[in-house]
Symmetry: C2
Subunit: 239 residues, 2 copies
């Protein structure tokens, strides 16, 4: 899908510039995830506040990308594959905006959790999970920019690891709550965060699926590999 | 925005037929919410299974609407307002697909919760919450089809009631968990469901915001009224 720069059309140039905005949005979202996780782990409330503040920038970028995409369609009247490329930009930006929202929601709980009993191991487990999700998101965007169906398929397969991390954490939280009711409120909030991180992974997957759609022309037929077998659901599995 | 049928263009006809698909999708999603709630309240596992099965139909409709929208853009090359109308169809269908997913996830937990201790009042409180959300969604779609900015603004304002219902339920679940650790697992699952219902309300609001965008040309400037003040967050408030 990489076209020769020398024969790049006006459409290609416009699309590239919108894609550059998507990549910039992706970087902001990645930073939001990293910072929100660190803020939570170290009870760094100013950093959490910063994440919340910067989410407006991410939202603004989505609006801007949508407007650029609409302008591109209006101006160049793309057909077939080109049109699909533009519509995909809108989908990818929408997925990124949601991931940004989840990071913001994580940041929102920093102040609250700083005042509650620490749940041993939760900070580390959450950090590992967000690191896995960040890598997933980075690869999903990479596969998008390069139209790399192999990498996209790999992202889709790897999301199951995030689901498994979530399931393990869910069980841990249950144990802490049963052991000591004073842990209940903190665990409810941490569980929330874990669930939101798991959902970030779903959005990375949805970006990868858009890439597969661009390259192959159809969405994957097989249901996405998900850790939501009956066994997983019995453990409060991912959904 | 209602145009005279006699001077209806080919574009208008095509758009109307896609909007009819969106309305159909909306009805399926509403049924999914109602049935998932009833299945949960009455431990009706076959009905829950039916909701899960029918979610594929909703997903399929979204794909179909996206393809129709892309075809309409390619065929009629709409500009300005007309183009915005088509792009909005895609956003609305995407919101509906997510609401359908939440209903499916609710249905997934029916079997599980049927085997756990009943949490008094939870079924009724959840039903009231899903009824409020269904009404919100219906009005959001109505405001969309009629381009009724007044109704859309009202939907946006009413979402706060759903957030308040969620906050009240969150506190109730905490109490039940503290009182008896045997309630913990059931409350974790019920909390999940309540959160997903609250998110359905957010999607109804996002449809209403698209309507405001169509009518006024800009997204609402003021942050959406949300029950996420510090007080609400301290109670595990909506996000």
């Amino acid at each position: 899908m990489q076209r020769d720069k020398h024969i790049m059309s006006a459409f290609d140039r416009d699309l590239e510039s919108i894609q550059a905005e998507v990549v910039r949005m992706g970087r902001l979202v990645e930073t939001a995830i990293t910072d929100a996780t660190r803020a939570l782990e170290t009870s760094d409330e100013p950093l959490a506040e910063e994440v919340r503040r910067r989410d407006r920038e991410i939202d603004q970028l989505e609006v801007q990308i949508n407007e650029s995409a609409a302008r591109l369609i209006a101006l160049r009247a793309p057909r077939a594959t080109d049109l699909r490329l533009v519509l995909t930009v809108i989908k990818v930006a929408s997925a990124l905006e949601r991931v940004g929202d989840y990071a913001k929601n994580m940041a929102k709980r920093t102040h609250l959790l700083a005042q509650m009993p620490t749940i041993p191991g939760a900070g580390l487990a959450l950090r590992r999970m967000t690191e896995a999700v960040s890598a997933l998101l980075r690869d999903a965007l990479d596969s998008y920019v390069r139209r790399d169906a192999t990498l996209a398929a790999e992202v889709r397969a790897r999301d199951i690891e995030v689901d498994q991390m979530y399931n393990a954490l869910f069980r841990e939280f249950l144990t802490h709550m049963m052991e000591d009711p004073r842990n209940i409120t903190a665990c409810m909030h941490l569980h929330f965060i874990a669930k939101n991180v798991e959902r970030m992974g779903d959005h990375a997957t949805s970006i990868a699926e858009q890439v597969l759609y661009l390259v192959h022309g159809t969405l994957p037929e097989d249901p996405r590999p998900k850790s939501d077998s009956v066994a997983a659901v019995n453990l409060g599995g991912a959904d």
